[in-house]
């Protein structure tokens, strides 16, 4: 007969893991009590949600001219902001790369990039709406700043990872600084740069439909006012337009990605 040996479990959970779980549960209990999220409120909301769904459908496309106008404006904001932001990122990213530039230049530039990244685009949009007034211009500036924060950071990181042998080889031929960049650095990071840029174009397209909520042009403003006027069937129409725009954008960026591999 086989005897059952009472071995110790070799994978016992450590004490710190147990404390982590305990802490998590204590936090959850605390958060639920402070936030006043009740079950009855949730149930009440579900009832409300049913009524909302009822009013959301069918979508109302009677004001399609306004919808189309805003859709085009969103598209324009996304395209201009992406091209401008990516173009600026080329230089900013190069200046932020620690292996290409002395600390005197790279540190302030890195701080600038970090500043661009910390704030959510909507907060940047609020500041630009104050500075340049309502409309597409505020949206363009906002998304340009957001693009710099993302593309320049990743571009700088890509440049920092390059092999320096090619750069030295180009330098050894007596090439100047610009030739070194163009023939030694850019070819090594070009395909990754294209990748970041496509990603950013995609995310600018998404964000351009949102910055309008604070008045920076595009579909967001119309969406927000439709919500405030309880125009829920028009809301559905706008949401469908946004989803269509994003799906088309995704398909196009996949195509471009395939062309550049």
């Amino acid at each position: 007969m086989a005897t059952i040996v009472d071995r110790q479990n070799p994978f016992k959970t450590s004490l710190s893991t147990k404390f982590l779980w305990l802490g998590l549960f204590v936090y959850l209990a605390y958060a639920f009590t402070t936030l006043d999220i009740g079950w009855d409120r949730f149930v009440l909301g579900l009832d409300q949600g049913g009524r909302l769904l009822d009013r959301l459908f069918p979508p109302n496309f009677t004001r399609w001219e306004l919808l189309l106008h805003d859709l085009i404006e969103s598209l324009q904001i996304a395209i201009i902001a992406s091209v401008a932001g990516i173009f600026i990122s080329l230089f900013v990213g190069l200046m932020a790369a620690r292996n290409m530039m002395p600390n005197v230049i790279s540190i302030p530039v890195r701080v600038f990039i970090a500043l661009c990244r910390t704030f959510h685009p909507v907060i940047i949009a609020i500041l630009f709406v104050k500075a340049v007034g309502f409309g597409a211009l505020a949206g363009i500036l906002t998304l340009t700043v957001a693009s710099i924060g993302f593309v320049a950071k990743l571009f700088a990181e890509a440049i920092e990872e390059i092999s320096f042998k090619q750069v030295e080889a180009i330098r050894a031929t007596g090439a100047g600084f610009i030739s070194t960049i163009v023939f030694g650095v850019i070819p090594q990071v070009f395909s990754r740069f294209i990748g970041f840029s496509i990603y950013q174009l995609d995310s600018n397209l998404r964000n351009s439909t949102m910055v309008g909520i604070v008045g920076a042009g595009g579909l967001g403003g119309t969406l927000f006012s439709a919500f405030q006027r309880f125009d829920y069937d028009f809301v559905t129409a706008i949401l469908l337009a946004i989803i269509a725009l994003i799906l088309v954008g995704e398909a196009l960026s996949n195509l471009v990605r395939r062309i550049f591999q």
């Binding site: 936030l35 409120r41 989803i243």
Partner: protein, 276 residues
């Protein structure tokens, strides 16, 4: 760019081969992309409705705004901002945790090495994409309409937006799992749940926590603005202060958000270092 760097044509007299990195088709496809981008850029620039004069006095306006913001309203921090900022952190954390309820099952359904049926994969992918393509502010608008203004709408908005992100990345991590240990555990006659817990989970665990932390970091940033549409947290305070033109208070709110975001990023970097 890379293409024309090596494209120098060589005269036929020397008869040396002409080296090209890309075929003619590839090159023309690339130039088409460049051309379309440049054309759409200029087309947008010509038709977009902007008033150039507004751009000219932008520096003046910005300077004016910063002058109004200074000195910051430090007195507002203990009375309103502190509590609202805590609410924002709660929204982000609860939203991230709540998203797991939907994200984990969808990730399992989406991973084609766990569920073999391509129909199920496709259904899961549809929900993940739908969750991702709607911005969290728009989710918040919907939930404010359903549950009324407040923290609950914010938590649900953050959760539903996170489902797509966490689910997609987690299912990618699951698909990268080494199938050897999965087969070994299956060969012992283990049930589906045991295979999940003992074969998939230990391999996907580091990625899972790393994804969750990453999303939490993003959610803190996003939940700071959800209040602009009434979904609770610091955004409500920001919105009120702006509507009342209380610029010193706006500056204090922005500084608080900045500090918290930096702190969160620091924590995430530290925790990730321990995890890896």
């Amino acid at each position: 760019m890379k293409a024309d760097a090596v494209m120098t044509p060589v005269s036929h007299a020397t008869e040396s081969p002409k080296w090209q990195r890309f075929t003619l088709g590839q090159r023309s496809a690339r130039y088409m992309v460049y051309l379309i981008i440049v054309m759409s850029f200029f087309a947008s620039l010509r038709t977009v409705e902007i008033i150039p004069e507004f751009l000219l006095d932008a520096p003046e306006q910005l300077a004016d705004m910063f002058r109004r913001m200074w000195p910051m309203d430090f007195a507002a921090y203990p009375t309103t901002i502190h509590g609202a900022m805590l609410d924002t952190l709660h929204i982000a954390t609860l939203g991230t945790l709540l998203s797991l309820i939907l994200a984990v099952p969808l990730a399992l359904m989406n991973a084609n090495n766990i569920v073999k049926s391509s129909l199920v994969n496709w259904i899961a992918k549809f929900f993940l994409v739908a969750s991702r393509s709607v911005n969290s502010l728009i989710w918040a608008l919907l939930f404010v309409a359903i549950f009324g203004p407040g923290v609950l709408a914010g938590v649900l908005a953050v959760a539903l937006r996170s489902v797509g992100f966490v689910g997609k990345l987690f299912s990618e991590a699951l698909e990268e799992v080494n199938m050897g240990s999965v087969e070994a555990i299956r060969a012992t006659g283990a049930s589906f749940t045991s295979v999940l817990i003992k074969a998939y989970w230990p391999q996907a665990k580091p990625a899972f926590f790393s994804i969750l932390l990453f999303r939490w970091d993003i959610n803190v940033r996003e939940s700071a603005v959800l209040g602009l549409v009434g979904a609770g947290g610091i955004g409500v305070v920001l919105n009120d202060a702006m509507n009342l033109f209380q610029w010193p208070k706006v500056a204090m709110v922005l500084t608080t958000i900045f500090a918290v975001v930096l702190l969160i990023e620091f924590i995430v970097v530290q925790v990730r270092k321990r995890l890896m």
